[in-house]
């Protein structure tokens, strides 16, 4: 074998090998750079979690302490502080509003895609335009009207508002999923004599279930994290987790570690849901425009 190798043939392969090595080297440099950048960007999250496991005196020290004996004291303090009712309120506001959004958005987006109404574009335009209206422009009448009908500090007021807040996004998203259903499938169903309900149940819904999950995820994220309405329209009874979080910032004494523990608990449900459903996240955030 070696005897047949001529200098002529080894030269280019050696060159190629060295080029390959150089590329691999620059490749691993880029990988290292990516990791460093990602670590810097992620560092506040690490710091938040670390602080949550500290004693207050350790948390507010200068210079910062990186090695310490972790404690669950802060989590215990947060949970002992009546966090449960706030989490329950958030759960109701998020869960019920998401169900309402899906119930309203699925038929609506069906009417905007599969069997479209006239002026579909105008209706879509209207839905998205409500998303552009500043919330602050309607907070006063909502506050006054809610006060008059005794609906202040009532979790159902938040449910209604969160439904309205997420409905336009859901309509756009579900429409984009319905549009992907091939017309042939629907025609075949019609030919088989399947009625509307049957077509919906047996053909359309199974095909758009992943879309439904993506839509629900986005609604859950926005509803769970919503602060403005919760701050202005709730008090002792209906306050949600973000309001609870703010109440942990007391002016007197040390609160940093406890606030961090509360922040970790408050963010955990959405963080885990988002980690699990990364693909749906992109689609949802772009209202279905990005597949």
């Amino acid at each position: 074998m070696t005897t047949t190798m001529t200098p002529h043939s080894t030269a280019p392969s050696a060159e190629r090998r060295s080029r390959e090595a150089r590329r691999r080297l620059s490749g691993s440099a880029i990988t290292t750079g990516t990791w460093v950048l990602a670590f810097i960007f992620f560092a506040p999250v690490i710091w938040l979690v670390m602080t949550a496991f500290k004693q207050e005196s350790v948390a507010a020290s200068n210079p910062p302490v990186f090695f310490f004996v972790p404690t669950f004291d802060q989590f215990a303090a947060v949970l002992g502080n009546g966090a449960g009712s706030y989490f329950l309120n958030s759960l109701i506001a998020t869960g019920v509003s998401t169900v309402f959004v899906i119930l309203l958005a699925v038929p609506a987006s069906y009417a905007l895609s599969i069997r479209p109404v006239k002026k579909t574009q105008d209706v879509l335009f209207f839905f998205i335009s409500t998303k552009m209206l500043p919330v602050v422009a309607v907070i006063m009448p909502i506050y006054v009207i809610a006060g008059q009908i005794k609906a202040l500090d009532n979790i159902w007021t938040l449910v209604v508002l969160y439904t309205a807040m997420n409905l336009p996004i859901a309509v756009w998203m579900m429409r984009s999923f319905f549009q992907e259903v091939p017309a042939e499938v629907l025609e075949a169903a019609a030919m088989d004599g399947a009625g509307l309900i049957k077509t919906l149940r047996t053909i359309l819904m199974p095909m758009v279930t992943p879309g439904l999950a993506a839509t629900a995820l986005i609604c859950v994220i926005f509803a769970w994290n919503e602060f403005f309405f919760a701050l202005n329209l709730t008090a002792a009874n209906a306050a949600t987790v973000p309001v609870f979080l703010v109440s942990q910032m007391t002016s007197e004494g040390l609160f940093l570690a406890k606030l961090s523990a509360a922040s970790v608990l408050a963010s955990l449900p959405v963080v885990i849901a988002g980690w699990v459903a990364q693909k749906q996240l992109v689609r949802g955030l772009s209202m279905g425009a990005v597949k």
Binding site: G27, F41, F42, P44, A59, A111, P141, L167, N225, L285
Partner: protein, 315 residues
């Protein structure tokens, strides 16, 4: 291409209508089509449009909850007042600075992160997960994390890091309130732009890139002339949706600076909130809300044209 299904149905519907040619039939059909849409449409109109009509009504009244004699019709007096109000103007300016600054910075960072993620390497999935996390953290938690743990003048992490290179401690939220708010906002919104750009990169036809490589185009040239034009739609979409979300920023300002010092970092949502819920000046706050909505409609008219273009030309 995306509208083929709709078109086909419209066409079929059209043919059907011509065949039967009965107005009664098409009326029934029209309502059958509209039926599923109506609950969502009516609900949205009631919850989002009616309050706004009431806001317009309030804006014409001299209503301050602190003055019991108030609540009379004053015509356009509230509008005259807010145009003479320098804080309204500075809040409007802050709204623009914060929105444009955040969307621009998040887009640049997002493009960089997306390019770094768009190649195979060890731990790609972990890095991606790390990079999207700031978007998933509750904004209220993110805002307090930045204002207390990161930017606190005496024990914040940022001051400790800059002290390593000999920079004296900075009282971030007092000295640079808008910059501090932008840090928290950009941190939160970069994952959003990154995910959009990444989706754009991954939808790129690989043969075009290979052809550019075979032609000997450098990485920079390929990016500038091949990748960037293909990303355009995704970047436009990111800017547009980012603007819709960021322009309403409230949490970070409320928690990090409370609009201060003074009103130095108040944006419009925060200033209107202050006037309504701390100043109890319903009339003025309502008038500001109306002005913001009108401005939004003007901007949105242009923006929506863009969004429809980018939704309709999808491949």
């Amino acid at each position: 291409m995306a509208s083929t299904l709709v078109d086909r149905h419209n066409l079929k519907q059209h043919k059907l209508k011509n065949a039967t040619n009965g107005t009664r039939h098409s009326k029934v059909e029209g309502w059958r089509r509209r039926g599923p849409l109506l609950p969502a449409l009516v609900f949205t109109i009631i919850v989002t449009q009616l309050p706004f009509l009431v806001t317009i009504w309030y804006s014409l009244r001299n209503w301050n909850l602190l003055r019991p004699d108030g609540n009379q019709f004053t015509g356009l007096q509230n509008y005259v007042d807010i145009f003479l109000d320098s804080t309204f103007r500075s809040s409007a300016l802050n709204s623009i600075i914060i929105t444009l600054g955040c969307v621009f910075a998040a887009m640049v960072l997002g493009i960089i992160f997306a390019l770094l993620l768009d190649r195979k390497f060890r731990g790609q999935g972990v890095v991606r997960t790390m990079l999207i996390t700031p978007f998933l953290i509750m904004p209220v938690a993110g805002a307090t994390l930045w204002s207390v743990s990161m930017l606190n003048p005496s024990f914040g992490l940022v001051n400790w890091v800059i002290s390593l290179v000999g920079i004296p401690p900075v009282d971030w939220t007092s000295s640079f309130p808008v910059v501090s708010i932008l840090m928290a906002l950009v941190w939160q919104w970069t994952p959003f732009t990154m995910l959009l750009v990444l989706a754009g990169l991954q939808s790129q036809p690989k043969d075009v890139l290979e052809a550019a490589q075979i032609d000997g185009a450098s990485w920079g040239k390929t990016f500038l002339w091949v990748t960037l034009p293909q990303l355009r739609r995704y970047i436009e979409l990111g800017v547009l949706l980012g603007t819709i979300y960021v322009v309403n920023t409230f949490d970070q300002i409320y928690l990090m600076t409370a609009g201060g010092p003074g009103t130095a970092s108040a944006n419009l949502p925060f200033y209107i909130y202050q006037r309504a819920f701390l100043g109890f000046d319903i009339g003025q706050a309502a008038a500001m809300g109306v002005v913001v909505v009108i401005a939004t409609i003007i901007i949105a008219t242009f923006a929506l044209r863009l969004i429809f273009r980018s939704f309709d030309t999808k491949d």
